[in-house]
Symmetry: C2
Subunit: 106 residues, 2 copies
DNA sequence: TAAATAGTTCATAGTATTGTGAACTATTAA
DNA sequence: TTAATAGTTCACAATACTATGAACTATTTA
């Protein structure tokens, strides 16, 4: 099983989706780029925390950055992540619907 | 920010993709259902560990199970997860390619 | 009924992620 | 040059996740 490595790398990229704040950022950046301060203002919380999450996503190749003067702008490096994210959101919604139906049938 | 809840739920589903063994299982079940023992034989490791990962994926609504005699068959509850997973794999591959190019240009 | 197969559950120890605040760097404006 | 803005980095404590083995349940076969 030498090719277990690919699963590890793959899981590693997928992990980037596994945090509420990071999902929120992926959502925010769907159709535009935003600078750190904008994102912080929208999401709330500590700047150090946000910075670490953004840095993680950038390291994993999910976001890219562009510096303009004092501001650092963040955007998706590929549309695929946002697409994947939307699919997972649909899975969630489907699950919630099923759950509702099951509850309704009791 | 009352709708933070959706990000939490969403991240929670996405987390299911964030482990090498779980990615491997998602891959394995792309086009067929398999029983526990089959999956264990392919992936290796401890049955208790596999059982826990499968249980987690089932709880998150990503897999569904079907019991036939002694055997429990696992399959995807929706094609969307596998799709999302394939997209993330493409992101990984793109990143690796970029990385290679960057290295080549030094 | 007894033994075997197929899996689940549980406790626990080890590891990885996360949030926090303080200290730091870089760019711009006064 | 000084102060302000925009972000990053670091150390550490709290929390969550993971792997392991033993004990357990359910179904089938002998």
């Amino acid at each position: 099983m030498a090719d277990k490595k690919i699963f590890e790398l793959h899981a590693n990229v997928c992990k980037a989706l596994g945090h509420p704040l990071r999902i929120e950022v992926i959502d925010l950046l769907q159709d535009k780029e935003l600078c750190f301060t904008d994102i912080l203002e929208i999401t709330g919380g500590l700047k150090s925390n946000l910075s670490q999450h953004l840095s993680l996503m950038t390291k994993k190749g999910i976001l890219k950055t562009r510096r303009d003067g004092q501001c650092t702008f963040f955007s998706h490096s590929s549309k695929k992540v946002a697409q994947a994210c939307r699919l997972m959101r649909e899975v969630l919604v489907d699950n919630l619907k099923n759950h509702k139906e099951i509850l309704a049938n009791i």
